[in-house]
Symmetry: C2
Subunit: 369 residues, 2 copies
Amino acid sequence: MQESFDIVSSSGSYAVRIGRGLLANVVDAHRDAIYLVDERLAHLLPEAAARRVLIEANESRKSLEAMPEVILKLRELGANRSTHIVSIGGGVLQDIATFAASVYMRGLSWTYMPTTLLGMADSCIGGKSSINVLGYKNLVGNFYPPVEVVIDIDFIRSLDAEQVIGGLNEAVKICYARGAQSFADYLAEGPAWPLPPETAQRLLTRSLITKKWFIEIDEFDRKERLLLNYGHTFGHALEAATQFGVSHGVAVGLGMLVAIDFAKRGARLTQTGASHAEALGRHVSAMTDIVVESGVRWPKVDLTAVLQKFDNDKKHNTEFYRVVVPVRDGELELVSIARNDDTRAALRASYEAVFSQLGIDTAVASNVA
Amino acid sequence: MQESFDIVSSSGSYAVRIGRGLLANVVDAHRDAIYLVDERLAHLLPEAAARRVLIEANESRKSLEAMPEVILKLRELGANRSTHIVSIGGGVLQDIATFAASVYMRGLSWTYMPTTLLGMADSCIGGKSSINVLGYKNLVGNFYPPVEVVIDIDFIRSLDAEQVIGGLNEAVKICYARGAQSFADYLAEGPAWPLPPETAQRLLTRSLITKKWFIEIDEFDRKERLLLNYGHTFGHALEAATQFGVSHGVAVGLGMLVAIDFAKRGARLTQTGASHAEALGRHVSAMTDIVVESGVRWPKVDLTAVLQKFDNDKKHNTEFYRVVVPVRDGELELVSIARNDDTRAALRASYEAVFSQLGIDTAVASNVA
């Protein structure tokens, strides 16, 4: 069975299809396309996809400095205004393809096939790219959705527990951000590891249909869509302070836990708000435990470095920290909190509480602070 | 007196203002902005415009490779999501600012002040950027209009005959492309060298209001707007073959002349069509003579190289050359002409006829071919 629906955007609407065995189908439909593919997935690509740019998917390739080489390869393969691009890979491939397709001869049409659960559950729709510049992470980017997003569930087979649960963390974040009923419906689908294809298809459909609501009412990230940053400001700080020793999806899970603790500490949660938030907290903690049981090791965490990275987040302004926290009745809110020592003490305490609950070693930090 | 009107685009409408002494006015309104300025104009900038990125305006700076440095400078000056950019300069500054503003933190608002007549008469509206990549001219680009275009007529004082007439060539091209009446109205304004400020203001208003018609019905360059390439395919070949020894606006004038000759040769012109096209030809020839009288020297032109560059133009497809030519009753048309030896002989003959009329030496070429 295949699911499909459309996303409406200012540059026209685009289709999302979710099902199994869709890679062969896409290649059949786009024999003349140029394939921009994660080099680790090249062996899965049918021979008919002859024109290929293989990309080493890492942060340094996802940079403005590396972009001329990608553009040059498209040119050498004969790309012209009517060339279609098919991009196959995770977030790095999506970022590179969004950017390259948007600027090549002022814009080529493209198809995106996400291959990670993070991509499938969340980032494949919305049309955003994030590109590093000379060491500044995600300093530039743009909005340029593909004409079609095709999610082939079969790619999930190759993913490990950490990758699957990272993706599920983004999915539950989206559903929680939409409200209490949406969160309950999500849990009822039975997110778990291992993730059977049928469950994956239902969860992904639910997650993307929910995200569709956010991006259609707020395409350019000005209001409602900002709630989807839940867990991200707290999580990014942890990713950055550990040199990405904690993977993105897992860090987002931890970020949600820190946000819940921080909301409680600041007395921002009503009683029903707390009960919803705690249900989310229990779910995310359980999922995080599975990651640890699968053999993933936590890096040592320098708490002072985490707080420094948190402090530098470009989403804050000069007077206030800007974070998404749970408030009442299962709702989220983007709040502004004074940048002062009290706030920093509370932030530190919240990170500490979550790290200690999960057995993350912060020994380095306590010496420094 | 100030003229002003709006341009409607898919990303919102933006204002165009034309008048004298507007630089001080812009700086007053945007003290906190970051100024992206042609370094040769830095001395004209009031002190209040304190945050500055000075750009050496040349083709190599207008490249994807050079973009990280511009972005880094914006970052070092503290640019954030709410920073406004003011760009002051010619086409190179506009290209760099369009691109940089569009991608920095996924898009900053910006104001553009064109300082060349080419920019004022034509390219300042439409929102396009053209960026070089590793030696490939204008291989990438995008659409990202400023929130306001402010044309300060006083910048014209610093321009020489070649620069002014280059700009007027683009203006007459736009008005001719709109039809016979629009062309007659343009000539009635009295385009001339030197160009008095009042005449400049009227001509620029006419040219931009006419261009507004093209870009509002065809924002993304798919149909009507393509007629504005008149003179460009022929002209670009000449620019490229002389390593830009012929300046853009002058080359566009020559390109229009070649296109007229080529249309006659291919019997594409009706009798009234020919009479309109010849009126344009006489005007452009007279303007070109003024450039020569001002002391500008033609480079030697290798005709074979010109034809090779023409052949490589990315606007053609594999079967047909795609050029804009005059047809009937003062109209232009984008036509497809078979890529064969007959066509190439006619192209060569048309270039030769125009070069010989203007006293351009093609001695190099005749030896080679």
